[in-house]
């Protein structure tokens, strides 16, 4: 064996050793459950294990389950409401935090901080803030200002979405803001200088320079956000538990209830594959889009 071949072989071995821990964990915790889930979805499967083989019954069943479609529609609603909200808010905050100001660092830190909190913390903050009858922050504030009317943020079918989407946006837009800020800093200063010399107003500069150059970032955030929003569960579970009624119950909560409240793990697994399909399609679009962006 030549010295060169030996070195290559050695390099491969080293690489393998470094990759092994991740690969093993990835196989055990991601690939295996995916395959096991597919297997389970073909059975009537209780908490204590396999019961009967029923083929595709679980799949045909959820296609006719109006609560499945209701939950999927709620998830879709969340995606439709939250994605534009988060993108616009992150962009706005990034533009604010990117201005020349002595408080620049403070802005960034302040906008980013909520992102560091755990989902249970932000959920309980939201619940506290939105409680009626002078027990919550907003209600208390309104009482102090002399407003007698009570607003039931978590009971009204429209306001409850405002509450959930607002909380989520406040919680997550810091991260996207950071992505926007780094993109903003990549825009060369000469462009603005040249535009200023040509007499372009700041708003003209925003529309003709900043926004077009942020397009790839916006596309990236849009797709990441779509995928993240389709997986919504924890904050809704904690803030409204899917209520009032089932007005905000997302698909993952319905899957969770099927598995752990109704002991139908096979049915839950089958429904998970519907969500899986949606996420796969979105991920493929994302891959394609980022590849085109790189070109």
């Amino acid at each position: 064996m030549s010295a060169k071949r030996k070195r290559i072989w050695r390099n491969d071995l080293v690489a393998l050793v470094f990759l092994l821990p991740f690969t093993v964990l990835y196989m055990v915790f991601t690939i295996y459950p995916v395959i096991q889930g597919l297997y389970m979805s073909l059975f009537k499967w209780g908490l204590m294990g396999k019961q009967d083989f029923i083929g595709a019954d679980n799949y045909t069943r959820f296609l006719g389950d109006k609560f499945f479609w209701g939950a999927l529609w709620n998830t879709t609603k969340f995606v439709l409401y939250s994605t534009p909200t988060i993108i616009l808010m992150s962009l706005g905050l990034a533009l604010l935090a990117n201005r020349r100001s002595p408080l620049k660092r403070l802005y960034r830190a302040a906008y980013f901080t909520p992102n560091l909190l755990s989902v249970s913390v932000i959920s309980f903050l939201a619940i506290y803030i939105l409680q009626p009858y002078g027990m919550g922050f907003i209600s208390n504030l309104l009482k102090t200002l002399g407003v007698q009317e009570e607003i039931f943020f978590l009971k009204d079918p429209q306001l409850v979405w405002v509450s959930i989407v607002g909380t989520t946006a406040w919680w997550t837009c810091g991260y996207n803001m950071m992505l926007y800020i780094s993109a903003l800093q990549d825009i060369p200063d000469q462009l603005y200088e040249a535009a200023a010399i040509d007499g372009a107003s700041p708003s003209k500069q925003l529309w003709s320079i900043t926004l077009p150059l942020l397009k790839p970032t916006t596309l990236l955030i849009l797709l990441l956000q779509l995928i993240a929003s389709f997986k919504v569960f924890a904050q809704i579970r904690l803030i409204t538990n899917g209520g009032p009624g089932h007005a905000t119950r997302p698909l993952i909560q319905y899957i969770y209830q099927a598995a752990f409240e109704k002991n139908r793990l096979g049915y839950a697994a089958a429904m998970s594959y519907a969500l899986f399909l949606i996420l796969v399609v979105l991920s493929l679009i994302q891959l394609k889009a980022t590849r085109e962006g790189d070109r």
Partner: protein, 435 residues
């Protein structure tokens, strides 16, 4: 590679290996409120029985006391009380049992028992009860009936906890609504009761509501359940999984309750209705489970009375559930351990006067008839409710069905659907649950 780097590498490898080994010997994590987060990490000693309980707060203290009392009698096997969070209790119990890591002793609500039976989580008790001479006639026969599935007994009833009616004596006395015995007498008729509460509203000072009650979750469902059965409604679902919920009666019960919110008797969408009564300036009366009794007793300056939820629709029927002791399936257990566990159940049942202090109506009939029980304030005011409690007909889906009924009631009380829609959606959901 220098010798230093090699040494560093070996050191790192050793640290990783060591921490890996440490992770196998799992530490027991206990929350601030004394609940154990990973109960499966507690392994029973040879002469020790592990007991997973779901009691917290006041109740938890009384159960802890009973366990200590039992251990002080020098039994062959002592009992170790492991408190779990109530919201996670059944999920943890069922998943732990499914992987063979369940406890020796568990608690089940009577409504949950058929599901645990269906999922093969519980062991029949008959053999071990006979082995230690357990006298089944000492417990409430109504509840025992519900603990019997396919001719075998799966649980030892500990108590019944119905929904009852509390009232603030100070507020009502000032409003001139108490009788000469300083008691509130409630009309036992739907229309009269409603008028009585409306009248109370006009007599109370500004800002105090007649009734503090939830608009969501368990409590509205419980009194809907009671009122529906007071109208002699058919079982929501039979043991043969036939849906028998009657539309006209169910809708009538829903609409009757809604009137109380719409006309300012109950504040709408109140989230923390316990505090609203307990702060002594929110509401004059309060409906919830008997477990609130001991909390109310501990509030300084609160003078209160309690009575059964009124019979509004002719027949006396109440909501209630029961805590029972169970033996979860455990592969490494044996007859001796289970017989010892039965001895613990027997001891707790005979000494459940302690448990009555928590507010519950105990299942042991001898304790219930004892002078000590009669001497407990408040408890005797609702002790007979236990005889009128209507349980689910045993079926493995009681909990999810209850959940579905609750969600639809919530949406109805929040004004997002009519009573008829609530009924139709409830039926649709139950059909989806039992397929």
């Amino acid at each position: 590679m220098t010798a230093f780097k090699k040494l560093l590498g070996i050191l790192l490898a050793m640290i990783m290996l060591f921490s890996g080994v440490m992770a196998l010997a799992e530490d027991v994590i206990v929350s601030e409120s004394g609940e154990v987060e990973n109960p499966e990490a507690i392994v029973a000693g040879e002469n020790e029985l592990i007991f997973w309980s779901l009691f917290s707060g006041g109740e938890g203290g009384y159960m802890e006391g009973l366990v200590e009392q039992y251990n002080a009698t020098n039994p062959k096997m002592t009992v170790r009380n492991v408190k779990l969070n109530w919201g996670e209790y059944y999920t943890k119990l069922m998943t732990a049992v499914s992987v063979g890591k369940g406890p020796d002793i568990g608690i089940s609500h009577i409504a949950k028992l058929p599901e645990l039976y269906d999922q093969k989580v519980v062991t029949p008790l008959d053999e071990y009860a006979t082995a230690m001479g357990f006298d089944w006639s000492q417990v409430n026969q109504n509840t025992l009936q519900a603990a019997t599935i396919d001719g075998k007994i799966y649980a030892v009833p500990l108590d019944t906890h119905p929904e009852v009616f509390f009232y603030n004596k100070t507020i009502l006395r000032d409003a001139g609504l108490l009788n000469e015995n300083d008691e509130l007498v409630l009309p036992q008729d739907a229309e009269e009761f409603y008028q009585f509460m409306l009248d109370m509203k006009s007599k109370l000072p500004e800002g105090i509501y007649p009734l503090s009650f939830s608009s969501a979750g368990d409590d509205p469902w419980r009194i809907i359940w009671a009122m529906y059965h007071q109208m002699d409604g058919a079982p929501v679902i039979t043991s043969d999984l036939e849906i028998k919920l009657e539309k006209d009666k169910y809708v009538a019960a829903l609409e009757y309750l809604k009137k109380f919110y719409d006309n300012g008797i109950i504040p709408v969408n109140l989230e923390d209705f316990y505090s609203y009564f307990m702060n002594m300036r929110g509401a004059a009366t309060f409906i919830t489970g008997v477990w609130a009794t001991s909390s109310l007793e501990n509030i300084e300056g609160l003078e209160f009375g309690v009575q059964s939820f009124p019979v509004l629709f002719g027949k006396n029927a109440q909501w209630g559930d029961s805590h029972t002791f169970i033996l979860p399936v455990k592969p490494d257990s044996n007859a001796e351990r289970m017989t010892e566990a039965m001895k613990f159940f027997d001891f707790v049942s005979k000494n459940s006067i302690v448990w009555a202090s928590a507010g519950h109506v105990v299942a042991n009939v001898n304790v219930l008839q004892s002078e000590e029980f009669a001497a407990l304030p408040y408890r005797s005011d609702y002790a007979d409710v236990a005889n009128y409690v209507v349980f689910f007909e045993p079926n493995p889906f009681s909990y999810p069905i209850r959940g579905a009924m609750m969600q639809q009631i919530d949406a109805f009380l929040a004004g997002n659907q009519t009573a008829e829609e609530a009924y139709d959606n409830t039926i649709a959901e139950i059909e989806e649950i039992i397929f």
